[in-house]
Symmetry: C2
Subunit: 332 residues, 2 copies
């Protein structure tokens, strides 16, 4: 059976997702964005394709009155700002897949809002789940490499992600273009890292209980001018091109997990990577290279769609969904 | 609930598996081996542990009359020689996990024997499955990296495995110590590679139909004396220390899969690796290092035990089993 999708948030990730869905046989029945210059434009043209006959609307209630199987949402990472949007989609009887990072496993950071979304989804017989680049490269790579082990002392993940593969929202998260003083002031009140909940997914897959996550963040300052495509401007020497975040995850079972995630505007010769190291019996390492993080955020989110539509109602995190493998067509 | 296991084949892999099972809370209720010097010895002592009170027997019928949940089998790779052993265990109402490579996905190579085992297992309400080092490092790494992709042209896997991590059976498969003439004669009648069926697992996970597998094998000859621990002797210059196998897997859906597996007696500075490259949209690479293949064959086989006991009756290949993740204890 064919799938009908609504594109919610017409930014860089969802413009890629639009093409991928069309090419995989998914019908796009509506597109929503906040007010601005994109309203009224054709989603296909905004996505670098020919006209799709879907014009971008700033009236979600109207678009959600169209029969649809799923809303593909790419806006903010935090659950607080996203909650009303998820709620509105679920109440319209539309399943939700979102690339919002904190939606990947919201139960620890936002237990009340998570429970509310779970209740609303169950009431309306639909499912909400968060996918994106973490699906294979973090959650399932980390979780499944653990299945090799007889004993685990520590799991370490290190990554370098190029801000240029994302839009201005991500540049903001990485403090790109800001001064060190400005960073220091804000860093005292930093919000939880976008990587935080991915460790919750892994802990859930391993049946471990997270007792504490300690987050530190370090500014990365450029000494030479660096072009930031996300902001379409050059960052001057002495200003931030990004950050290195460190997460220390403590579990009740004494399996330690450490994340060291560099997120900056890469130089032309820098290559994105994701490294994993598991220490225990046995210890081994995995390195992923040749990444195109912006693209793979969209592709995994799109590939997950059939699983989410078919999942039981409620808030179902990706650690509970089936193995995600390649399909030539996406159908239900 | 606790698990009771029978160790079937007391070689290098199952001696490791014995310790891992004991440390994870699995009770070992019997051990079987072919006639020879190990018969009557204590399984614990043979496994480098203290006495377990389980003496190795060459009477499988007697051992299989003991109530047990699963037989952990590590003997040969091909299904033809293993068939009577699997059959006997299943008919005794005992689930089977085996590291026999061709058991990983036997349906294409041995459709008749596979169907018979499936029927016998269903009749007796038990499950047979093949696991081992391929579980994460080949089948699930290959299958799950595909889930990132929008389009796949080709999946390539390259590996180097040290024969020294295995026993004499593996040294035989790699022609270790044989002359080039002897290799050439036998290579004309080569049996299917131990890696063949792992591609069948991956194809099944991706819902692809394998139409042909073309296998070639190249001798690797040493120019200096090399010590082979598996055979406990030195290989002289001019003789084989192993082989490089190449598998070209053709599918109906035109997704090509290529395996290039080097299996030889490694020099001290050579490091085992498993490389993956996926070519399509997107393309990316994964490298696994720090491997201890002998150990991880046993550990994944042991970690799979609860899934196999809980699986529906029949021949259930690992691509159909749940995600394998770390557990502190193995129970059902």
């Amino acid at each position: 059976m064919g799938i009908r999708a609504i594109v919610y948030g017409v930014g860089r990730v969802n413009c890629i997702a639009t093409r991928l869905m069309i090419e995989k046989g998914i019908e796009i029945v509506g597109a929503v964005n906040r007010s601005g210059t994109k309203i009224g434009k054709d989603l296909g043209e905004l996505s670098g394709m020919s006209q799709l006959g879907v014009s971008v609307s700033d009236d979600p209630a109207h678009i959600l009155s169209t029969p649809a199987d799923i809303a593909v949402i790419a806006i903010y990472d935090d659950l607080q700002r996203m909650f009303p949007i998820y709620k509105q989609c679920l109440e319209a009887g539309v399943n939700v897949v979102t690339v919002g990072a904190h939606a990947s496993y919201p139960w620890r950071l936002e237990p009340t809002l998570s429970q509310q979304l779970d209740d609303i989804a169950r009431t309306h017989g639909v499912t909400i789940s968060g996918s994106g680049n973490q699906d294979f490269f973090i959650v399932h790579l980390g979780a499944l490499m653990s299945g090799v082990c007889h004993r685990i002392d520590r799991i370490v993940h290190r990554s370098l992600t190029d801000v240029n593969n994302f839009g201005s929202e991500t540049a903001g998260i990485a403090y790109v273009g800001q001064s060190v003083d400005c960073f220091q002031t804000k860093a005292n009140n930093q919000t939880p890292s976008v990587y935080t909940t991915f460790w919750d997914n892994i802990a859930a897959a391993l049946e471990l209980t997270v007792v504490d996550v300690v987050q530190t963040v370090e500014p990365i300052v450029t000494t030479t001018p660096r072009i930031c495509r996300s902001l379409n401007r050059t960052i001057k020497p002495g200003f931030l091109i990004g950050i290195r975040q460190r997460l220390e995850v403590f579990t009740k079972e004494n399996v330690r997990m450490t994340g060291e995630n560099s997120l900056w505007v890469c130089d032309t010769e820098e290559e994105e990577y994701k490294d994993w190291e598991i220490m225990g019996e046995p210890s081994f390492k995995i390195r992923v290279t040749g990444l195109a993080t912006g693209f793979t955020t969209a592709s995994q989110c799109v590939n997950r769609i059939p699983h989410i539509i078919k999942a039981p109602p409620g808030y179902i995190t990706i650690d509970k969904l089936p193995k995600l493998t390649y399909r030539q067509r996406l159908t239900i």
